[in-house]
């Protein structure tokens, strides 16, 4: 027991020593307000997963009072229900104004910031036998491509609502297109990458990211039928670290990166 405590103390000293040298080198501020120190729990729309993961380290380095950030991704609608029902999260990132509104209306948050927008695109598996036939959303129907398997997000998820807007503008019913409905855009992307689905309507940002894996390709949706979603962020409490995460995400550093590297649109 005593030995273990000694080891632990040694480790703490070693870590803090390392911390000190590291911060001296890069001149990073240490946490000025020890009482605000803590970790942040973020519930976020799954389309933000890649960008958040890539910027995780930078955020932690710039914010020494934040000990860690844990993310839980899913459909904004599902996450909103969890928050309204008391999920102990610090920050909510929603892919639609409507779901953010349910959280604000419940009193869990008072303030929200629009920090990005995202349009839709058709994601097609490259190995699919229909890949060369797809030019726009009208080619996703069973009647134009018999045997094609297409997925959409559930209508209640923001990515599903976006797909519905587009299909409506194109005069196509959801039923004529979809073989299955995914609970979140992440799920839909992976089913297309696996080749179990030929195509699906996903966010432009997801398709840009997935395209790098070289298993799928993106087909733009014509401007006259395409639409876009707003991304909103809100702190769910008055903790300083929660606000720091919100400020970081809505800062120009992050939002310009979202546009230049991840295929999001300006808010």
């Amino acid at each position: 027991m005593r030995f273990r405590r000694l080891v632990l103390m040694g480790a703490v000293i070693a870590v803090s020593a390392c911390g000190a040298t590291a911060s001296e080198k890069s001149a990073v501020k240490s946490c000025s307000d020890e009482s605000s120190k803590g970790s942040v729990v973020v519930l976020a729309a799954s389309s933000m997963a890649n960008a958040f993961a890539d910027f995780h380290k930078q955020f932690l380095v710039e914010h020494p009072c934040v000990t860690n950030v844990t993310y839980s991704y899913g459909s904004s609608a599902t996450l909103a229900v969890q928050i309204v029902n008391g999920s102990p999260a610090d920050v909510f990132v929603s892919a639609s104004e409507k779901t953010m509104k349910t959280v604000i209306d419940s009193g869990r948050s008072v303030n929200t910031t629009l920090f990005a927008r995202n349009s839709a695109e058709i994601m097609v598996n490259k190995a699919s036998r229909f890949s060369s036939n797809i030019i726009n959303v009208s080619e996703l129907t069973k009647s134009s491509n018999p045997g094609i398997k297409v997925g959409l997000c559930v209508a209640t998820a923001p990515c599903g609502a976006l797909a519905d807007t587009i299909l409506e503008q194109a005069g196509i019913s959801r039923r004529a297109v979809a073989d299955t409905e995914s609970p979140s855009v992440e799920d839909l992307v992976s089913k297309i990458e696996m080749g179990e689905l030929d195509a699906g309507i996903v966010y432009h940002s997801d398709c840009v990211y997935a395209q790098k894996q070289k298993r799928s390709q993106c087909i733009p949706i014509a401007d006259d039928v395409n639409s876009n979603n707003g991304y909103y962020i809100a702190a769910l409490n008055t903790r300083k670290v929660s606000q720091q995460f919100v400020d970081f995400i809505s800062s120009p550093t992050f939002t310009t990166a979202l546009q230049s590297q991840y295929g999001f649109l300006a808010p």
């Binding site: 459909s75 609608a77 599902t78 229900v81 045997g147 398997k149 997925g151 559930v154 209640t156 039923r175 979809a178 073989d179 299955t180 409905e181 995914s182 609970p183 696996m194 080749g195 179990e196 689905l197």
Partner: protein, 261 residues
Amino acid sequence: MKLTRSSSLLIAFAVIAAVFLSLPLVAIFIRVPWSDLGSMLSEKSTRDALLISMQTSLIAALLSCLFGVPLAWLLARSSLRGISMLRVVCITPMVLPPVVGGIALLTAFGRKGIVGQYLYDWFNISLPFTRSAVVMAQVFVAIPFLVLAVEASFRQSGRELEDAARTLGASPSRVFFTVALPAARPAIVAGLALAWARSLGEFGASITFAGSFPGRTQTLPMAVYELVSVDYRLSLVLSLVLIFISVGVLATMRDRWMVGR
């Protein structure tokens, strides 16, 4: 029974267990919007899910019976070496997390699956996200229940009668249909009911392998799951329907499960 301190403690624990088991069901009964029940049940999405659930689970139960009874007979009667290993494999889906079953089915019968790729390339058959996939997932999780119940019955009835029939000149298939099968009838009925209940409640394997689309592959449990975040009241109504059907299944097996009444 005399109430000693230890027995009253036992009773206290038993009461806690009973309340814990019944309270959630009672809660649904209390919260179900009874006044809107009729209109909610007649909604198209509800009827679609109910219809698909009924259709797929009944087919799955019958298929489980059609293939499960012979399998149970083989497991009970064969003295081959690997038979106990085969039994373990056949019963595994019963303890497997259903979502793992779904991934396993996708890996085997999906478009890129080890068998599915040939089905797709040679015969243009794509199983995932179809109603057949729903049935397959249900059979996969339900068949062990039937096999276990029926195999136990085959073992219990022993092979003496079958041997007697055989020495009297009956062919193997005649022995099976006129001697073994009638003796196992109660177990087959119970196994069928269990398999049906399991198929009806199946969620994890089917949503993974068959996806979910209203009116096509969305069963009642999938609808309940999706509605929780959208229309809680309607999900309560659908849960109530599932509870009624489950209780109905128990009632058909009352000889086995409601002993002493």
